[in-house]
């Protein structure tokens, strides 16, 4: 990458917008995933009885839907990011690349 392109991209307000949006979403979702997982680990470590309690009186415990929820949440969060990145962010990125060529 030559200096010209570099300065052109860096001074492009769209680039700042892209960096801001993408970085923010990335960290937000990461923190959410970490909070869900380490929240789960902390409950396991300090209050395992919560997960071992019966769900609505049957044999199935609270831990089963919680576990399934975490698995599904991982999938859903990646879906949210990919949707946003592959449409909105990529469009913005495309414009930045075009602008840089001129």
């Amino acid at each position: 990458m030559n200096e010209d392109i570099l300065t052109r991209v860096q001074s492009n307000p769209k680039f700042k917008e892209l960096v801001h949006k993408r970085t923010r979403l990335g960290w937000q979702l990461s923190i959410l995933m970490l909070a869900i997982y380490y929240g789960f680990i902390l409950v396991l470590a300090f209050a395992p009885n919560v997960l071992g309690a019966s769900l609505s009186g049957g044999t199935t415990t609270v831990g089963i839907p919680v576990g399934i929820f975490i698995i599904i949440s991982a999938f859903v969060l990646t879906g949210i990011y990919v949707r946003k990145a592959n449409t909105e962010f990529d469009q913005l990125n495309q414009q930045i690349v075009e602008d840089a060529k001129q």
Partner: protein, 559 residues
């Protein structure tokens, strides 16, 4: 340290993640079983088919980019399946279903740990990695740093991780095949080594990826069928399945709840699983096989879906095994362990999924699932070998020795020679470690990936202040501390070296070794006032722009 942590340690944990066949039954002596012809025939069908693919791939593999990254022409969906295939190893399949069979809920906890690293890889690492790298993760780590020291470090990290994994896989393969096929240990190890070398040297990344994709599809298909048949026996009511399992299992209602765990060890395990995944060289290299950042993102999305689905299946399979196998006297055997008579599943708990295949689908399906388990190992070792070969040819030979002036044909030749050498070494180590307790090896590999490769890779992309000195010193401190703490911990000091008490109390050193690596990488970088450090920091802006926009990134090659 009790309950589920203990199981992890005793079985898969120390052979932590996905890819090892670390679990209990494969550690000790296993009895050779009667020759299983269904399994052998189906396995050879798989080999014949994948050899056909390798031949096809070999005709399309010309350039270095073809060899290392399949020309960058793999789609996001295909790559998602291949990544999932790397993760859905024989250890995940047999080991996690065995854990559910033994402990119930704790098996689910364990599999969740494997899964949650993936979203974080996507959000923070995947697209930057794709935009900056070409063939190996060292391309990214050394992007603005000095090539020789950083690539030497990255290649060391890669080769150590690959070697530990390969040993675990080879020993696991030998024992598994003795159990499943009734072949001898040494012939199984040699067979795996030879096939691995053939896939990689002739077919490169294209063949390695397709072998992994095919395996992933048949494994997902087989596991889906088993889970379906299990649920069918209880009228598709999970509550009914849990009731029956609790009524039969010796631990009763305990299998529905988590066991007690040491908080430090649990958190440390979580860190090793999450960040180890983001530091495994054979996983990272898959991000270079797709055409751009968009496809890289899609790969992780599909991979997360497939892996999550697979773990739900193994949970059902584990409970199905409790329901359908525990009350079958024909499935049980009595063995003497530590001087006590124990009644267990024939071949141990790791065989739960295999016996269940027989129970729900008869001999033919048993053969199918056995063949799938073996195919799984083959696909995983091929990926490992390719990753190790790239580290030697691309990082050490082309960049360090030839200073980036190697010609492509020579580089590919070095890669192929390395693959053959790795195959021979893997076979020898497999034979050498037959009687050793190798349960700690994959755990060690994961800890090293999390403590050495990941911090350097992460900081190189996210922190302007990283310098060569900081990366190399911090990375090696992470590597050495992970090794030292595991050796001094219960997994090696007590279980392998037979000392009374461990010098270091935790099974999982990741929380300490990762912290050490980050702190030292930061400290040495901050203290580094050299001229090159100033230049390296100045190059960050250009790197950042490329990592964000993909301008200048390696694209897909056209055939």
């Amino acid at each position: 340290m009790k309950s589920w942590m203990k199981t992890l340690c005793a079985t898969a944990l120390t052979g932590l993640p996905a890819l090892a066949l670390a679990a209990g039954a494969f550690e000790g002596d296993v009895t050779k079983q009667a020759t299983n012809w269904h399994a052998i025939i189906m396995f050879f069908l798989f080999v014949a088919f994948t050899m056909g693919i390798t031949y096809w791939a070999s005709r399309r593999t010309r350039s270095a980019s073809d060899f290392y990254t399949a020309g960058g022409g793999i789609t996001g969906f295909q790559n998602g399946l291949a990544i999932a295939g790397d993760y859905m190893s024989a250890a995940s399949f047999l080991g996690i279903s065995a854990m559910v069979f033994d402990k119930g809920y704790d098996g689910l906890i364990y599999s969740i740990g494997f899964l949650v690293g993936w979203p974080v890889i996507l959000f923070l690492v995947a697209e930057r990695l794709r935009n900056l790298g070409k063939f190996t993760f060292a391309d990214v780590a050394s992007y603005r740093l000095q090539q020789t020291p950083v690539r030497t470090f990255a290649a060391t990290g890669t080769l150590v991780v690959v070697a530990l994994y390969l040993i675990a896989q080879m020993v696991g393969a030998g024992k598994l095949i003795q159990l499943l096929f009734g072949m001898s240990y040494s012939s199984a190890v040699i067979l795996v080594g030879v096939l691995m070398v053939m896939y990689v040297t002739f077919g490169g990344m294209l063949a390695t990826t397709w072998v992994q994709i095919i395996k992933a599809i048949i494994l997902l298909g087989g596991a889906s069928f088993m889970a379906f048949m299990v649920l069918a026996t209880v009228g598709f009511s999970p509550e009914m399945m849990f009731q029956k399992a609790v009524a039969i299992h010796a631990k009763g209602a305990e299998i529905m709840a988590p066991g007690k765990a040491d908080p430090i060890d649990s958190i440390s395990l979580g860190l090793a699983l999450m960040f180890g995944t983001a530091g495994l060289p054979h996983i990272l290299m898959r991000f270079f096989t797709v055409s751009d950042a968009k496809e890289a993102r899609k790969s992780v999305f599909y991979a997360t879906g497939f892996i999550g689905y697979f773990y739900i299946l193994t949970f059902i399979i584990g409970f199905g095994a409790i329901m359908l196998l525990l009350e079958q006297p024909s499935m049980m055997e009595t063995v003497v362990k530590n001087g006590k008579e124990v009644t267990q599943l024939i071949g141990g708990s790791n065989m739960a999924a295999i016996h269940l295949a027989n129970a729900v689908g008869g001999d033919l399906f048993l053969g199918f699932i056995s063949a799938v388990a073996f195919a799984t190992i083959l696909a995983v070792v091929a990926g490992l070998a390719l990753s190790g070969a790239s580290a030697v040819s691309h990082d050490l030979y082309a960049s360090v020795i030839k200073k980036g002036k190697a010609n492509e044909a020579d580089e590919i030749r070095v890669s192929k020679i390395t693959t053959v050498v790795l195959g021979v070494v893997a076979i020898l180590l497999g034979l050498l470690f037959e009687k050793q307790n190798i349960a700690f090896m994959v755990g060690l590999a994961f800890s090293i990936a999390a403590s050495a490769n990941f911090p350097v890779l992460f900081l190189s992309m996210f922190w302007k202040g990283l310098t060569t000195r900081g990366a190399v010193v911090g990375g090696f401190i992470g590597l050495i501390s992970a090794v030292a703490l595991i050796v001094m911990g219960p997994a090696v000091w007590v279980d392998v070296l037979k000392n009374e008490t461990a010098l270091f109390p935790y099974k999982n050193p990741a929380i300490f070794s990762i912290t050490l690596a980050f702190v030292f990488t930061w400290l040495i970088s901050v203290l580094d006032k050299s001229k090159s450090a100033v230049e390296e920091k100045a190059k960050f802006e250009a790197q950042f722009v490329r990592s964000m926009t993909g301008i200048g990134a390696a694209g897909a090659s056209k055939h």
